[in-house]
Amino acid sequence: MDRRARRESADRGRASTAVPVLLWLPACLALALVVLPIVGLVTRTDLRRFPELVTSPSALAALELSLRTAVASTVLCLLLGGPLAVVLARAHVPGIRVLRAIVLLPLVLPPVVGGLALLYLLGRNGFAGQFVDFLFGVRVPFTTVAVVIAQTFVAMPFLVVALEGALRTAGERYETVAATLGARPWTVFRRVTVPLVLPALGSGLVLSFARALGEFGATITFAGSLEGVTRTLPLEVYTRNETDVDGAVALSLLLVVVAIVVIAVARPRAVEGRL
């Protein structure tokens, strides 16, 4: 039935090849808005000095920090956001709709507001911050851990939304069948639920990783911009732009390349419009 529906929608797509002429102009403008800035970036880059610019010690430190923190926050998204998505999609508890809405908050909130919120939660005067300080003698803000927390905060909804949608589309019927076949809940989860949502999980992780890699606002508010500790690639670009425009442009181009690689290699389904 699924396949038939898909074929029908494909047929419908074919039938509507005649796009109204009126739409072409704004469509081209939209595309130009996306593509031209990148072109501008490329033309502004001194390509001969590019390797030298992106391998400067501070650039390499920022790149390494960015990759490390983005990987760490993607893992956190998986370990925390994955179970959250399952609970949101499957648990029958009152108020779950409200929870679903709340999870989307970081997606629509300006990241800088998220950073401030984290600062007042985990900062020296925040109630959780005082607690952590008292228990472990540790201060979270302006550390690499703070970078990871800020990135997880903004990136997790991408994973949760992708995964929860896939879980709800897949429905519980496969799981019911698996249970009647004698599979325990954990076996059902491992051998049926997870494989069914694997594609969505993959694209959710890629999106989360990309979002974490590009995170700026929450990081600079909550973690600051300390070279080698909290100055990730986007922060390095921002800082460099004050003094060394060529370096900033080269690093920007590096981020663009990383983004294109992410889209090309992992092809998140959300990007292809099949979430």
Binding site: R3, R173, Y174, T176, V177, T180, L181, V188
Partner: protein
Amino acid sequence: MIDVEVTVSRGDFRLAVEFAAAPGEVLAVLGPNGAGKSTLLDVLAGLLRPDTGRLAVAGRTLSDRGVHVPPHRRGVGLLSQDPLLFPHLTALGNVAFGPRALGVGRRAAEERARAWLSEVDAADLADRRPRALSGGQQQRVALARALATDPALLLLDEPFAALDVYAAPALRGLVRRVLRASTDTQVVLVTHDPLDALVLADRVLVLDRGRIVEQGPTKTVLSAPRTPFTARIAGLDLIAGVACPAGVRVADGTVVSGVRGADVTEGEPAVAVFRPAAVAIHLERPQGSPRNVFAATVAALEPHGDVIRVRTAGPDWLTGVTADLTAAAVADLGLTPGDEVFLAVKAAEVDVHGVAGTM
């Protein structure tokens, strides 16, 4: 053996049933939409916890006060309208899933899966993914998967409803063959199709609004229905009233004459049952032999196999009675919805049965 006596409420709906099935018996559950068939299946599968009562299969208590065996420890197999094969596994992987989940080793599980696949004539499909199988093939693999765990109770939920006219009879025949072979499996079949019940079931149970309104051997129930629903799915006409010497007297005093069965008691509720093919339609009031002549209005004309089924409307007791006519007869009479006609049924074609209680 199944022994059930449960009540369960879901919002406004309440299911209260009590029935038993002998070892190896195939029990068909019939009923209109919303009668509680799926609720009953959910209770049997352990997906829904009954409010009160008990449920035992093959001498093992599955539900009772303080006892609720979860679905994965029940030993029930479920085959529904949608095959629901796990899309990420091959046909073989699907069938081997149950044995694997029950702790059988990989090789032994696959061996068992192969045996079941050949049992359902699908041995050559073992390495295919569900997406590469037709609807009928998928349903065969799903049947093998449900049987591979050797369930004590097999639940069939409209298993042929989604198949086309060629695949459905083939699979029905296959299910019949397989069920005959495994006599220790208890089967409950939910269906809308009287053919499923006739081919597969030893006994039928008719549910309506959460209660059992009729049960008994398949042929008896379907050939002598006591409720309008059973009559409709058996393809028979049914008029309810009170038994009188000639047959059945309905609310407005009209008498439907017929052949009285042994179970009819004067003055008690009774039904008159006849085949739609026994109903003749006349534009003028017919003279002569037929003793049952009722004025009615043509409500609808529907194709039904190679005849036209004419649905009629009239007084409450008559509304819904159908007549099967050939296309030529319908054309000769020039019938269209809204026409005033006379229905004629020979008394010899009408069976009268006693029924318990009012309907």
